[in-house]
């Protein structure tokens, strides 16, 4: 499988996200919210980096399974996991974090899920990889890497905690 990003490149992509989010966090308190699965692991790394720089912030995890728009088309529903939003969403400045931005549908679901917890003052979007091919008008505020891909390509993100190692691979469908 062609490797697009190795561990070092992923580290750089995360560092560039951290730099951009840091600039925002210095202007006012933010909350980092990772989208399960793998978005939470990216969010965890961003959060750890901010903590190292002693930038105080809130942190949460969101499972969007119940908000997906394709549940009746799936042969089996995704395994539901816990969401954990341990801060007041009303009035919060939230940076939503995911691993890959593709059609935008996951983020649409995440926005619905998040607003069921309250009315944030602002929501921004940070993604590790933007691979294009949006189906709805959603764009990232911060992205680590942008990839040129074909619509049918598979972008496979692997992260240490979830998958045992860091790698981004691209599988082309002929």
């Amino acid at each position: 499988m062609p490797l697009i990003l190795d561990e070092a490149a992923i580290g750089e992509a995360v560092a560039s996200l951290v730099g951009e989010i840091r600039a925002v966090a210095l202007r006012g308190r933010i909350a980092i919210v990772g989208v399960r699965s793998r978005g939470d692991e990216v969010a965890e790394r961003v959060s750890a980096a901010l903590k190292e720089q002693e930038i105080d912030h809130d942190y949460g995890v969101l499972d969007i399974s119940l908000y997906r728009d394709d549940l009746s088309h799936l042969a089996e529903n995704p395994k539901l996991q816990s969401s954990d939003i341990p801060f007041q969403v009303d009035g919060a400045h939230i940076v939503l974090v995911d691993d890959v931005l593709f059609t935008g549908r996951t983020i649409r679901a995440a926005l619905d899920a998040l607003t069921d917890y309250g009315r944030p003052a602002r929501i921004q979007l940070a993604v590790l990889v933007d691979r294009g091919h949006r189906e709805i008008p959603i764009q990232p505020d911060f992205s680590g890497v942008s990839l040129e891909t074909a619509r049918m390509d598979h972008v496979i993100v692997q992260l240490k905690k979830t998958d045992g190692g860091d790698a981004v691979e691209l599988v082309s469908k002929q």
Partner: protein, 315 residues
Amino acid sequence: MARKDFLDIASLSREEVDLLLDQATPFKELFTRSVKKVPALKGKSVLMLFYEPSTRTLSSFEVAAKRLSADVIDLDVPHSSVAKGETVKDTVDTLQAMRADYIVVRHKMSGLPQAIARQTRASVINAGDGAHAHPTQALLDAFTLREVFPDLSGRKVLIAGDILHSRVARSTSSLLLKLGVEVGFLGPGSLIPRSGPEGIRKFTDFDEALRWNPDTVYLLRVQMERQDAQYFPGVQEYHRVYGVTRERLDRIQGEGIYIMHPGPVNRGVELCHEVMDYERSLINQQVENGIAARMAVLYSLKPQTDLEDADPGKI
């Protein structure tokens, strides 16, 4: 898990049981939000088909379905005594018009939910059929126990009452055995099944059963409306012999034993009044967990109602 129907415990694999129990937790967590509803079943309809009167199970399913954003249709079916063949036909005709995606059935006839499930593309959930099964009750019971004992294997649960006629006893004991729990039955000898799954301890004396050291005592509801006089002692006699009296509560409290009951409780029959305030009574948790467990079941089933390929006999 990609099954259409939820009819009994026996046909569930251990993996399916674990998945359902695991998924009940995130559903329960939704109840602490101010918005308790999620859109997972938006646009789907859930038909309540209760041929036997029930307030608790019916409203528990209704709340579960509504919190998943489904439309709920409560079909006011008369207390039906028609023969089995007619019932199924009547039912299916009605459902054809209703276009339900999920059908929740309760009937006094064992096997009726299975019969309906075979004739419809909708997902059928058994909410209690005769003395056969009450699988969502079993699920909420196991979920409630697991909140107290994260590892259920080797725990001991004593189920007390009219075991023979109880679908709760049947389904709950069957699920607990699957999870590695040791199960004991306590009741009048005439109301304890002679056959049944292996490995169940049988007791006719409450104090002897307590010497078995159960972690939880699960009291079955005395079915006042179904009481067969020849089997049953009087209410006071029942309380004295098989109920949690004040004296037994002291002992239960001393040993830190939990108490469960499917509700509604007949105070002074299965339980003395003081049990309602007992700190290790799980009865109220059971009610709340019932909604979460039923949401997990509704979420995991896959109705076939969207399929275009037509077998015209099916809806």
